[in-house]
Symmetry: C2
Subunit: 527 residues, 2 copies
């Protein structure tokens, strides 16, 4: 059988001893696509790690300008091949070509790469700190090995392991990448890796800077994230897979950054329901149904207080869930996973208001699903009732009063986002200050009066949050330059002779406008 080639150690080549193979599936037709992709065995993995380690050493000597040019050139190449990329990503994911893939996700991807280039060139990201009186200087710098990246299925470009946010951040911080293609879109990933590798060659980066494999045996994935020559790993996907990688990496003392699961609670305070119930319902449904509900920040939990206005809100929302045709899911098992999650919710006491089943169709689909449960039940089964159903499936919790709403907030697990809708003229302000202190420390991003989907790529973004939303509450996966800090180590220079210091720590500002903390002051000046 003929397999697609992998990119290892600067070569597109056959895998050495394939441990199996797979085909991608078009979720719109449930038909397997013709290309055969190999599952890598141990020899390939070890060779990739070795080549990545070598590239990590070489990359430290490469001028940051070349790193920046690589990222920009890669972005340009993605734009040149936009039609081809959109076409194959659409076939592999069933995500709409327009506006989603072509007009939203692809520009976001190239925008991220260019922003990463600016950060690499500008160097302020490394937080150079100089205490001149004692001549001690420090900065964040690249890790001592490649970053292995496991991308998710729901963003074939913007979170792709070879073009997405983790990739851009890892490379901009000066690290090589070993990308594991998501099994849902190997063809898209192959083209992106080809373009990235062209850009590697054209900017004369070490050839091992970008490597790409499709799939490997689970035990080899664990071996990779815990290998002594790996710098760090990044994973976006299911909690069960993420926790296994985390355990292996932790035991070896290797940093691993995970984005695993989130139900993104939305608290709607009584004044807001009275004031603008149908507006909020419309907005929320849009957020719930966006991308067939397969967004990390999808609002999976909606908390209201009991009363006639809330019942009307629930009826409106339920009608929207029932009457809107479901979207196509990303994968063959997507509908089963949703049905399984719904079963857990129901067995913990939730009632179905809409949907709950797979759709018999030639496409991968599940019904839009809405459930409800009372606050007391939620509080007594908080873990089960925070089960994530990855699709257009949300659970409404009806609390007795604001105290119970508070208790619900207090049993929230770590989430990426938490939202509070409140009366625009302030009638909910007292209640806000009851909920907010409970919700705030349990979420990465706290929102007011807007839906959590749509993660802006800005420097103040936090696409992160407490465990189990991620593995560490101090880091963000989106937003530059913050996301680069995951792939960096703190390097201090004590009494090091001036000409031996990295440019970022020499007396003279290396760019003329890099921000540095000198003797307690942020400044762009020389010393």
């Amino acid at each position: 059988m003929k397999y697609q080639k992998v990119l290892i150690a600067g070569k597109w080549r056959e895998v050495k001893n394939p441990a199996g193979h797979f085909n991608a599936v078009n979720p719109a037709s449930k038909q397997a696509l013709p290309e055969n992709y190999p599952v890598c065995g141990e020899e390939d993995i070890l060779e990739a790690i070795q080549a990545g380690k070598k590239a990590a050493v070489e990359l430290r000597r490469v001028p940051r300008e070349r790193l920046a040019r690589f990222l920009e050139l890669f972005a340009e190449k993605i734009e040149v091949h936009a039609d081809e990329l959109v076409k194959i990503a659409h076939i592999e994911t069933a995500l709409p070509k327009e506006p989603r893939l072509k007009n939203v996700e692809l520009p976001r991807t190239t925008g991220q790469l260019r922003e990463a280039a600016r950060a690499a060139r500008g160097r302020s990201w490394c937080r150079a700190t100089i205490d001149s009186a004692v001549n001690i200087r420090s900065m964040m710098g690249p890790l001592d090995g490649p970053v292995s990246i496991f991308g998710p299925n729901n963003f074939p470009f913007a979170f792709n392991s070879v073009s997405g946010g983790d990739f851009a951040a890892a490379v901009a911080a000066g690290n090589p990448v070993i990308a594991k293609a998501n099994t849902g879109h190997p063809g898209t990933t192959r083209i992106l890796a080809e373009l990235a590798f062209e850009a590697v060659r054209e900017t004369e980066l070490p050839l091992g800077t970008v490597q790409m494999i499709y799939r490997t045996l689970p035990e080899l994935g664990l071996k990779m994230v815990s290998h002594p020559d790996i710098g760090a790993s990044a994973f976006t996907g299911t909690k069960s897979a993420g926790l296994k990688l985390k355990e292996a990496a932790d035991m070896a003392g290797k940093p691993v950054y995970l984005e695993m699961s989130s139900v993104n609670p939305v608290f709607i305070l009584p004044g807001a329901v009275e004031e603008r119930s149908s507006d909020i319902a419309r907005e929320l449904f849009g957020s719930c149904a966006m991308g067939a509900g397969q967004f990390c920040t999808n609002p999976g939990l909606i908390i209201v207080q009991k009363g006639e206005a809330s019942e009307q809100f629930i009826r409106t929302l339920s009608e929207m869930f029932s009457s809107t045709p479901p979207g196509t899911l990303l994968s063959l098992n997507g509908a089963d996973d949703i049905v399984d999650a719904v079963k857990i919710l129901i067995s913990a006491g939730a009632q179905l208001l809409a949907g709950g089943n797979k759709v018999e169709s030639e496409s991968c689909m599940a019904e839009n699903t809405l459930l409800r449960v009372d606050g007391k039940t939620f509080i007594s089964h908080p873990h089960e009732l925070q089960t994530e159903a990855f699709g257009t499936a949300s659970l409404i919790v009806v609390a007795n009063d604001i105290r119970e709403m508070k208790d619900i907030a207090s049993v929230m697990e770590g989430n990426l986002t938490g939202t509070i809708y409140s009366h625009l003229q302030g009638s909910d302000d007292e209640d806000y200050y009851i909920i907010e202190p409970e919700l705030r420390p349990r979420v990465g991003r706290l929102l007011n009066d807007k839906t959590p989907t749509g993660v802006a790529v800005v420097s103040a973004m936090n696409h992160g949050g407490p465990y189990p939303a991620t593995g560490h509450p101090g880091f963000t996966a989106v937003g530059l330059p913050g996301s680069m800090l995951r792939f960096a180590a703190l390097y201090c220079y004590d009494n090091v002779r001036p000409h031996r210091l990295p440019a970022e720590l020499q007396d003279k500002n290396p760019t003329g406008d890099m921000w540095r903390m000198i003797d307690g002051e942020w400044t762009r000046k020389d010393i």
Copy 2:
């Protein structure tokens, strides 16, 4: 039997069901001290965690000025009680009263507390980041629970779990602390905890802000660091204990910061040996013997190139090790631990040049110990030959040539520090650039021409490094405000109404001179 009281939930009280007891020992006389200290059982631990969680919630509403005043008042109280503290610390650790305890460590401790107060008051540490166009704002803020701190035996004040660097950083970042006293100096820790608690009451902080226990069962230590209501943990001590805590915390998704072991390699290039052999020997011996060698940054590994000048250097150093009386160790098992480590080094191929044995004395002592091994042997047993002997015990590695020196650097495990001595007029510069790229990513702090002991408390300090020196290469345990970032989470506010934002993120600069990153520029201005 009457036990000393623990400080739990705002009360000095008896433990509920003591799981045992212990006495401190005066290392100068090997005599047990009279006070009986209890080993806490589960009930006490759970009550402390619960009280800490409550305090964490309450502390979020306390003005930062009060936190700062607490830290300053505590420093003042330590100064008032300096004589008493120095006296008991001397009895419990045998560290010299002067200059060490009174003139060095105590001022360092109060200096750290005051610097932490400045950071809490100034707020620049929280790295407020504002993107005004999209109204997304973020900052580092306190964790969702208390920080448990396990202090080491070698700094009864400056790294004490209830007064040291971790304590100051955790509190300044807004977290309550559960301090586990080191078993070596419980009496010192008790007095410090009393002073801290007085300061808590006088500044009207939540009473659970500072709690202190002496010892608990190992399984309860693991339970504490992995408890859902713990914010994070900090540990300084042996690798074996640290790794157990790390495993438990990791499995629960709780941050844990460890400082575990380091041999702090010192590379002496040939030109430096030719130029100033005896100066370097004198300086290095001082660093090796300081505090009876019981410093985390003690130079345990010295790498030279073969040749007559190096042999002379080794003879000089060996003579210093042999002729200088050994210092008193911190604990009864200190000498055995050194002898055990030396046995591992010898069985891996090292030869004794000086010492190697316990000293039969009324004090806890081991001979000053120097060993040597050739480069080839080191490279073939790199793990065993990096065994840390916590005392005045160092291993000299004699390399054949600069390539072998490079290979030695390339098998270094993660270390806190790495040092390169080179010719002052530059004759070693070529060799420097061969060693440095290997050493740099394997150490937290890289030094030129000075010894690694003496960790300045400045903002550019990195007292950290790659695993297994610590558990994460991106954080420092010493140096404010950097060390506070370990005890903080990233909190983002998206479209949150202006009056609901924390002061640090409102349009108006809350102090007038706090540094904030606004639209890509570090500034002290309002928006």
